[in-house]
C-alpha cells in the first residue's frame, strides 16, 4: 500500500530535515505523526537511512605524500606548456614595454616635426608683417610661448604613457603574488601532512618495539 501523500513536497522536505538531523521540533512531530500511520513512508525512511550508510563506502583516495610540493607538481607536457606560456608572457611584457617606448619616441618625432613647421610658419608671418608699413612683431616671445606649449603637451603625453605602463606592471605583479601565496600555502599543507605521517610512523614503530620486548620477556 502506497502513501496517500506521495506528492506532498512539504512532507518530503520535512523527511529530508529529519533524515539529516536538521529538523526543528515541529517538523519532527509532523514526520513522526505521519510515519506512525504510514507503513510505506516508514519503509522509505529506513531505506534512505540504508542508502546513506552505503554512500559512506565511497571514500576519497588517500593523499600520497610527495617531496614535490603538490601545488607545483606538473606532468612534463604541462610543465613544458607552462614554460612556453611563461616565455610567451615575458616576451609579451618586454615587447609591450618596448612598443610603448617606441610610440613615445614616435610622438616626440611628430612633435619636433610640428615645431619645425610652426617655426617656418612664424618666420613667414614675421616676414609678411615686416613688409607692412609701421608694423612691429616680437617673434622671440611668440616662439617661446610656442615652445612652452609643445613642452607641456610632450610632458602630458609621456606621463600618460608611463601611467599605463605602471598600471599594467602592477596588474602582473598582483597576479604573480596571488599565485605565489596559493603555492606557498600548498607547500605548507604538504609539509604539515608529512609531519603528521612521520609522527604516526614513529608511534607505530614504538608500538612494534614494545610488542617485541614484551614477547621476548614472556619467552624468557
Amino acid at each position: 500500500m502506497g502513501c496517500e501523500r506521495v506528492g506532498d513536497e512539504g512532507l518530503r522536505a520535512d523527511m529530508m530535515d529529519v533524515l539529516y538531523g536538521e529538523a526543528d521540533a515541529a517538523a519532527r512531530a509532523r514526520v513522526d505523526e505521519h510515519l506512525e500511520g504510514c507503513a510505506a513512508c516508514r519503509g522509505e525512511m529506513a531505506a534512505l537511512r540504508g542508502v546513506r550508510r552505503d554512500l559512506r563506502a565511497w571514500r576519497l583516495p588517500v593523499a600520497r605524500p610527495s617531496f614535490t610540493p603538490r601545488g607545483l607538481y606538473l606532468p612534463r607536457w604541462a610543465a613544458a606548456a607552462a614554460l612556453l606560456l611563461l616565455g610567451f608572457g615575458s616576451t609579451l611584457g618586454v615587447t609591450g614595454y618596448a612598443s610603448l617606448r617606441r610610440s613615445l619616441a614616435a610622438q616626440e618625432a611628430r612633435a619636433a616635426d610640428l615645431e619645425r613647421r610652426h617655426r617656418e610658419e612664424v618666420r613667414a608671418l614675421e616676414a609678411k608683417v615686416a613688409r607692412l608699413p609701421g608694423a612691429s612683431f616680437d617673434s622671440a616671445t611668440l616662439l617661446a610661448g610656442l615652445d612652452a606649449r609643445i613642452d607641456e603637451r610632450l610632458r602630458a603625453s609621456e606621463s600618460r604613457q608611463l601611467g599605463r605602463v605602471d598600471v599594467r606592471l602592477a596588474g602582473w605583479q598582483e597576479q604573480l603574488d596571488a599565485q605565489r601565496r596559493v603555492d606557498m600555502a600548498r607547500v605548507a599543507a604538504s609539509l604539515s601532512y608529512l609531519d603528521g605521517r612521520h609522527g604516526q610512523q614513529l608511534a607505530r614503530t614504538n608500538e612494534l618495539m614494545g610488542y617485541v620486548l614484551e614477547t621476548s620477556a614472556r619467552k624468557r
Binding site: 513536497e9 542508502v51 546513506r52 550508510r53 563506502a57 565511497w58 576519497l60 583516495p61 596571488a178
Partner: protein, 196 residues
C-alpha cells in the same frame, strides 16, 4: 582559538594578505575532495581547487558577507567543475570504468577477505551510482553526504532555494536506492551498533 572564516576574510580585505593562507589551509582539502567527487580525477580536482582559491583571492575585495565564505568558495568550485564537465561532454564521453582506473577507491581494511571484497564492490557501485545521477542531483548529494554542508549552505552555494535542494536530494537518494538495489548491493554496508 583560531579566527573564524569571516574574521579572516575581513582581515584579508583590510590588507592582511597572510590571512588568506589560513583560509587556503583550512578549506583546500575539502574543496579538492568535492571536486574529486564531481570530476573523478585527482589531477583535475587539484587544478580546480587551486583555480577556485585564485578566483576567490582576486574577488575577495568585492565579497559581500551575505553568504558564508565556505558557501561562496563551494559556489566557485562547483561552477568550475560544471565548466569542466560541460567541456568534457562536448569533447568525449569518459567511461565510468576509465574513471575508476584513475581514482583509486580505498576501503577500510576489515578482518576477513569476504568483507573486504564486499566493501570494495559496494564502494565501486556507490561511485558508479553517484556518477550516473543527473548533474543537479549529483551536486546536492555530494555536497550533503560528503561535504556535510547544511541545506542553507548548499542553497547558497548553488544559488537555488532551500526547498529545491531538498527536492533534488530526495530524488537523488531515491535514484541511488534503485540503482544500488538493482546491483544487489543495497544494505551491504555494516549497520553501526546502537549507542550504549
Amino acid at each position: 582559538m583560531g579566527r573564524t572564516d569571516e574574521e579572516l576574510v575581513e582581515a584579508c580585505q583590510a590588507g592582511e594578505a597572510s590571512a588568506f593562507d589560513v583560509l587556503v589551509g583550512r578549506w583546500e582539502d575539502r574543496i579538492r575532495g568535492a571536486a574529486f567527487r564531481f570530476l573523478g580525477s585527482e589531477e583535475e580536482a587539484r587544478d580546480v581547487a587551486q583555480e577556485a582559491f585564485l578566483k576567490a583571492y582576486r574577488a575577495l575585495a568585492g565579497f559581500k558577507r551575505e553568504a558564508r565564505f565556505s558557501s561562496w568558495l563551494y559556489q566557485i568550485a562547483t561552477n568550475l567543475c560544471r565548466d569542466r564537465l560541460r567541456r568534457r561532454k562536448t569533447r568525449a564521453t569518459v567511461s565510468l570504468d576509465e574513471l575508476e582506473e584513475t581514482g583509486s577507491v580505498i576501503v577500510e581494511m576489515r578482518p576477513g577477505v569476504h568483507d573486504q571484497l564486499l566493501q570494495r564492490d559496494l564502494a565501486r557501485a556507490v561511485r558508479r551510482a553517484v556518477e550516473s545521477l543527473p548533474d543537479e542531483q549529483r551536486e546536492v548529494v555530494i555536497l550533503k553526504e560528503y561535504q556535510d554542508l547544511t541545506f542553507l549552505e548548499i542553497a547558497q552555494a548553488l544559488d537555488v532555494p532551500v526547498s529545491t535542494v531538498k527536492t533534488r536530494l530526495y530524488r537523488g537518494l531515491g535514484q541511488l536506492r534503485l540503482r544500488l538495489e538493482g546491483e544487489g548491493l543495497r544494505g551491504a554496508a555494516p549497520v553501526p551498533a546502537p549507542a550504549p
